[in-house]
Amino acid sequence: MRLIESIGEWLDARLQIDATIRDTMQHRVPRKSASWFYVFGSAAFAVFLLQIVTGIMLALVYVPSAGEAWNSLQTLNHNVALGWFIRGLHGWGSDFMVAIVLIHMVQVFLFGAYKYPRELTWVVGVFLLIVTLGMAFTGQVLRFDQDAYWGLGIGASIASRVPVMGPSIVNLMLGGPIIAGATLSRFFALHVFVVPGLLIAFVAVHLLMVIKLGINEWPMPGRIVRKATYLKEYHELTQKDGMPFFPDAIWKDLFFSALIFLSIAACALYFGPFGPSGPPDPTIIQTAPRPDFFFLWLYAVLSFLPPSMETPALLIGPVVIILALLLLPFVFGEGEKSWRRRPLAVLTILLVAVSLGTFTRLAVYTPWSPVMDAWSSIPIPAEFLHNRSALERQGALIFQDKQCHNCHSLGDQGGKRGPALDAVAVRLTQDQLIRQVIQGGGNMPAYGKNLTPPETTALVAFLETLHPAGQSPARDASRAIALGSEAGAQPSTNP
């Protein structure tokens, strides 16, 4: 014991660091802030440390070469002892880190922690969110599989829309004219050197400010932040009703971080690593590329944007969002902190959460995408074919053969791209059906050039049988009269 003490004294006589560490660890925090709500920042930091360790371990085996990366991932998964588990830790760690950073941000927002004097802490936090998402995206690229390859294509297509500079930006991003060896090399450099470097720098500044300015006090309704008085009030609070971070407040952070590590390990163990999916061979086109979980909402948004909105939304949207986040503490730097007195803040969080959740949910089952093999693998349910005439059954055959089933469902089977056709005859008359099939419209391609008149007749005859029992198909009331008066065919039925 005496030996350790004397070594410690010898080191500190040279490093002169003891007082700094003591001050940092024992900085006073308000008693109420030592709460389970205040553990997310430290948990994000803990997961970041896990990502550094597992990332270095993966780099021992991973080959950052377009020709070999995919094979080296297979080696990691199958030939290196517990390589799959380390990949699982790194992959799930990434998802947990994004999730915890988002939760941390919501907590900080709802507790008003971005207000004076912690504006810059929030601003650096916004940069931390951006670089964390940057790590998630570049990491997904390093898992160099089909999803990564076509994901890069999507990134390049978005970047190319920048006015004037677009094509040059694409070449800079890809490191050449196509997605190839140079592309993976530069994303490796980004994921391993550039973005982590930024992340470490921002984390250092972020933490420094948390310690220098003190952790946000527990927001009390009615306790108003004023620039003139806040610092004095906060100092009094920490002196009167505060405690040292170490050893009195840190234990909750430690327990929560341990719980998060355990959860990541459990996910890695139970669900295993992410992919890789098919090899990055662009001649294999039987693929449906899909981004990782935290970019799924964007994937859904991109399929719902109307063509005219696409480029403006892609280029202006992110700028507006980031600017809004950066300006938040400067516009609302004073006033109420408690979410109980800030209904607009609560509503904003709810709106964003519901929107992101909805888009993510939609992206899981991609209703906008045709089911490419429905025409050959999903038969029309038998009840739609009972007691049908030969012409109508021929129409059903054309429905399958011309791949209508890829976009339209019958009996809840088939594509969800277009409307379900179970009761289409109630909605559209015969003439409207013919027009819709031949000319398309409303996001449906025109099939006029691809169907012969007999095929159209048969198909429409089948579509006209699609109505619930006991409900008659839609009929154009003027049709009989129009045809009757023109041809004079049915004078006896019209008295």
């Binding site: 070469s65 377009a66 020709g67 070999e68 995919w70 390859y149 076509w150 294509g153 999507i154 390049a156 297509s157 978005i158 190319s160 829309r161 920048v162 006015p163 677009g166 094509p167 040059s168 694409v170 070449n171 800079l172 890809l174 050449g176 004219p177 196509i178 997605i179 190839a180 060896g181 140079a182 090899p279 990055p280 061979d281 662009p282 001649t283 086109i285 039987q286 693929t287 449906a288 590329p289 994937y299 991109l302 399929s303 944007l305 063509p307 480029t311 995408s369 045709p370 490419m372 025409w375 011309k402 791949q403 890829n406 791209r417 398309g440 449906m444 391609p445 025109a446 050039k449 691809n450």
Partner: protein, 180 residues
């Protein structure tokens, strides 16, 4: 010991030192920036595109649309499979051809040809194109990208080498003609 003149002399040298480093920094910045921008600078001259054979015309029967692949003209040894690029070749009437890029004009996913319905369909966001490459439905703002082609001693050649993207003003991508 120190007189005002000595202090200002040292301060002057400090400023001079900073100035010298600024000059050296500028000189070093030129090659560094040139190095970083090299992938984009190449585009000007001679460019990334060149004429690439897709194979004999007999592979592309009249009235049909077939998948063809080629090795990208600009490659490095470690590109692996990524330098093999696919495209769709449509033999319109035995004499005229259309060669479409595999990349959807929306966000670059690989489109698939369905001869049964006569449509190109994209698996990502549901873009659809007619057999002549014109836009049929979905989020794309335009028709499929089309390569310039020529026929030489019974072989089909296309001018390619750069991944087509929506914002590209390169001559590689021709405007799609109206419905054939």
């Amino acid at each position: 010991m120190t007189t005002p003149s000595e202090v200002s002399r040292r301060a002057f040298f400090t400023k001079l030192g900073i100035f010298c480093n600024g000059i050296v920094g500028l000189i070093l910045a030129v090659p560094i920036v040139r190095y970083l921008l090299s992938p984009a600078a190449r585009e000007r001259n001679p460019g990334y595109e060149s004429w690439i054979p897709l194979g004999g015309l007999e592979q592309f029967p009249s009235g049909e649309t077939r998948l063809a692949t080629y090795r990208n003209p600009v490659v490095s040894a470690w590109d692996g499979d990524t330098a093999d690029i696919a495209c769709w070749v449509r033999n319109v009437d035995g004499k005229t051809y259309q060669v479409f890029a595999i990349n959807c004009a929306h966000l670059g996913c690989p489109v698939r040809w369905f001869p049964q319905s006569g449509l190109f369909l994209c698996p990502c966001h549901g873009g659809a194109y007619y057999q002549d490459g014109s836009r049929a439905s979905g989020p794309p703002e335009r028709g499929l990208f089309e390569y310039d082609y020529r026929i030489e001693s019974g072989k089909l050649l296309i001018k390619a080498g750069q991944m087509p993207t929506p914002g590209q003003a390169s001559n590689l991508v021709r405007e799609i003609r109206t419905c054939v």
